[in-house]
Amino acid sequence: MARTTLEEESYSKIIFWVTVGLLLVSAWALYDEVEVRRPWKAYQRTFHAALAARIDSLTDKAEAAMEAPAAREERDVILHDLETARAALRSPETERALVRQRQAEDALRETRQEYTFKKSEYDEAYYFYALARHTGGDPAPHKKTLDALQSTLSLLEKEIGKRSESLQVRRTTVSTYVDTVTAIEERLESMSKTVETLRAQRKELAARPVTIRQIVLDELGTVDRCQSCHVAIDRVGFDGPKDREPFRSHPELSLLLGNHPVEEFGCTVCHEGQGAQTKGIGHRPFDHGRSDPYWERPMLHAPFTESSCQKCHTEEREIENAGNVNLGRLLFEELGCFGCHPVDGYAGYRKVGPDLTRLRGKVNPGWLVRWIGNPGGLRPRTRMPNFWPRALDESGHPEEGSQEIARRDEEVLAIAAYLWVNSSADIARYPGEISGDEVRGEVLLRSVGCLACHRPGVFDLPPLSSRKVDRDFAPDFSYIGSKSNDDWLYSWIRDPKSHSPDTKMPSLRMVEQEAADIAAYLMTLKRREEFPMPAIFGAGEEERLRALADKGGELIGRYECYGCHTISGFEELKPALELNGFGSKPTVRLAFGDAITAHKDQDWYSWTKLKLERPRAFQTDRIRLRMPDFSLNDDEVLAMMVFLRGLGEEKTPLAYMRQLNERDKNLAAGERLLGYYNCRGCHRIGEFGGDIAAVIQEAALVPPDLTLEGRKVQPAWLFDFLKRPVTLRPWLTLRMPTFAVDNAEASDIISYLMALANEEELFVENLPEETAQWSAAGAEMFEKFKCIQCHQLTTDATVSLSDLAPDLALARSRLRPRWVAQWLSDPQRLQPETKMPTFFPLEDDDDPESITTPLPDVLDGDVQNQIRAIRDYLFHLGENQ
């Protein structure tokens, strides 16, 4: 066998195969680049095909409808009509009409021209006439010419008018023929319109390229290409059970995309997410990084898309379609989270817990120790969290004898010692000469309004309807006799602000006897068990107690009790663990302790969820955690998570911030105050409230509905009333409390009520001066209608105080005249179930026009005038006083 030399050896085979290989690889690379790595192309093609099929099927249906016998018949009729109309248009009659029209046009034009010429002559003549007058010539002949021309012009004007009219008539004749044809043509077109539109859509679809669809928003710094795959996201009608991603319409399309057009907002502003990855890694399916722990910012999935609402809707209390955010924020506020976790926007909020600087006069130490150790054990609906959750077993009972229990009891005693030593017992003593009557006290407590806010468990009342947070609004006093003493209760009820200037508890302006009665009743509400005083609080132990208090002070600092309570010695301390930016905290900066160890399970969501459910879950041997347990239920945990997720770091450009109009701003600010003071505990305002009705069942004795109050009363009066309420309705046992709102709050409440009632006038018009006849009519009706049989009138000393209706002397400063007129005509319409009757009944209840008057001789029986006259009389009452 001949040996071939190296030079002679052929590489062609290798080169061939390598070339083939290279070609294949190149082809694969090309395919991968163009197709595999661009799955949106396939999606778009699939969707276009589906859309084409949908349009085709609609087209077929429409065509079939056109070919239906009835449609055919109709078309034939139209075509016949069209033929007739066109023939009529060509007929000699139309020709003649056209000729007549043209003749009329010519005639008019000629007359107009003549008028123009004569006008010039007139102007000329006037020139000579004026010249003659100015130069001392004789104007008389010129005047004659002028007058002659003037009359010619008038004649011509008339002629023009006549000819215009005649032309109009002729034009109408001709246009009738033309219009008939046009109308029939339009009818014919409309028959095939659906099909035409569908064909146009189909044509447009065929020409539509398969391409990247992107939205570039400079201001937000986003380039969103989501619609390259999510081709149907802004289309209506792809939300059936068979429609799958990425071919589905956006949920709540009209609200969400209607208010946030995709072209202006893009997608990632709400959905977030990162990068351009478009398919799964390894065996993991593609889900925008939701289940991938290595993604720093995976896309938000529902309901966490709600978190993004907060970026722009900062002023609203109730963001539409974002119930979790709304509830989460409310919880954050009501549970006082901001006390320990400062967040922008909560500076200046009052601490949520009571002031503890006068604690020693208020509680019995045995109760105090039990309370601090496990508040939920004494009051299940309290907002006070548990700082020693590990001392409780799964069912919420203490695990007796455990190490955690021992630690808790030691710490609780120390904290109680600090609070005891560092608070004053300075309270107004129960006056010796008054003795409280518990029976009277209970009647008063149930009738004066306490139960509008306090819903003690032992009373078995429904929870407040307007409360969205499932916690007590005001403390449950079911067992207050075990907690407190009658001196303190008496002095607290008499004047809550003197104990705690920041308390929400209003004054009900109780006289001494009333406060004593209620205190006596409250002291009967005791738990069966005893709350023995710990020995260290006893006499002779002061030294030891003070030593323990020092330790307690450290614990108060550690647990940040001062975040919610005012405590002597901690006035200046500010908690520092702020939560701004917490929503975008990366996983690597979250400590999972021993609770979640699998890497794939560690992310922001799992951390936050567990932290809220069991705040001490991430505690380890070396790290002791401090956050207490708020006993959040599953819905509350989710709502808090959604709210917290929205506490991002980036700032939204101003143009994207939702700017509320004045009215909505007023409504939002007022709504917060209404919740804060629980106005709806007594008053129905808008759709909610009036919860006191569960206690005061008589419809006429419940406090007024305030939905339309803004339209009813004058702002200046309401301002005074909110700051210093006076008795308006002496027959009500309930009292409007003195809330001690500050000026800004009072203004906000007034603005809210006006916004709610769509009232814009801040100032109220002066009523005009009356004529003698008018005021006599007002006075006559006022007397004959016997208004003062029910209403009192403090300007008239002969009228006794009435317990039926408000004092009419107040009307002038309190009410809006327009409201009084509406009220007089039909009180039930403004305030259903009111005792105020109408004096002007309808003859026929279904006909509002059939209003009648019992005094047909006054002011000619004109009801509206009568109403105005009475109103004016009311507003001029006591004018000179």
Partner: protein, 262 residues
């Protein structure tokens, strides 16, 4: 046994035209009743007549009188209970209303409504008259919701209200006369009666058949007294019984109201 008079076809026809709209809306059909039966009886009180609540007349003494007034919620002298409403339930067809008591008038005199209980056909107009020289306030409730609330300040003033919904309308006066009360029973059909002072009632012209009869009394037990002296009473006392009405036959059905009723 007693034969009752038979309505002529013409009269029935006339009535059906008169209340034609009402008939269509409520499903009660007016037809000639031949050989109708009669239901009558006595409602008596079982037990000792309880003492009734009273109020002090605190205002308008010149018109309303002085001192204390016992509220006549339970009139049962001689054992028979007055003002009990006896109703045949679910009557679909039968005679029309005898319009001899039209116009239906509710008077206010001496700060009291009279009559205390009144029957008005649905769709008819009720005239309410003030015979006093003070303001009365006619506040009417249907199912404890205000139906109308009209002031009547003038002596001799009359207002008319068409009553469109069947049911018991309760009247009160909000002008400080908390003791004033009356009931108007708005009926679709005329098979209803109010017991007289002896507790006796009679309903005539009933198409033969089996009926459920309801006895309604407004009740007299005080639930509570409000601050203004108004008394909230327990709900009305209602009982029922089944009865068979035979043609041209008078059936007797008595009922007794227990003083211990709720």
């Amino acid at each position: 046994m007693k034969i009752i008079s038979v309505y002529t076809a013409r009269a029935a026809l006339g009535l059906s035209i008169l209340v034609g709209v009402t008939t269509a809306a409520n499903g009660y059909e007016i037809e000639e009743v031949k050989d109708g039966g009669v239901l009558s009886g006595v409602v008596t009180l079982s037990g000792k007549l309880p003492s009734l609540a009273s109020v002090v007349i605190s205002r308008d003494a010149q018109t309303c009188g002085h001192g204390e007034r016992i509220l006549p919620r339970l009139v049962a002298e001689g054992g028979g209970v007055a003002n009990t409403v006896v109703i045949l339930k679910d009557v679909q067809a039968g005679r029309g209303f005898d319009d001899s008591s039209d116009p239906y008038v509710l008077n206010q005199k001496g700060c009291e409504f009279s009559p205390h209980v009144l029957i008005v056909p649905v769709g008819a107009k009720l005239s309410i008259k003030n015979n006093d020289s003070i303001l009365h306030n006619v506040h009417a409730f249907l199912d404890e919701k205000t139906l109308f609330n009209v002031a009547m300040p003038l002596e001799g003033q009359v207002i008319r209200k068409r009553l469109k919904t069947p049911g018991f309308i309760r009247f009160q006066c909000d002008a400080g006369h908390v003791w004033m009360s009356a009931y108007v029973v708005v009926m679709e059909h005329p098979y209803v009666a109010i017991t007289d002072e002896r507790g006796h009632y009679e309903i005539k012209g009933i198409p033969p058949g089996t009926y459920n009869v309801e006895f309604w009394h407004e009740g007299w037990k005080v639930e509570k007294t409000l601050a203004d002296g108004a008394i909230i009473y327990s709900p009305p006392v209602v009982s029922s019984a089944e009865v068979v009405i035979e043609a041209n036959h008078e059936t007797e059905l008595n009922s007794s109201l227990s003083v211990t009723s709720p």
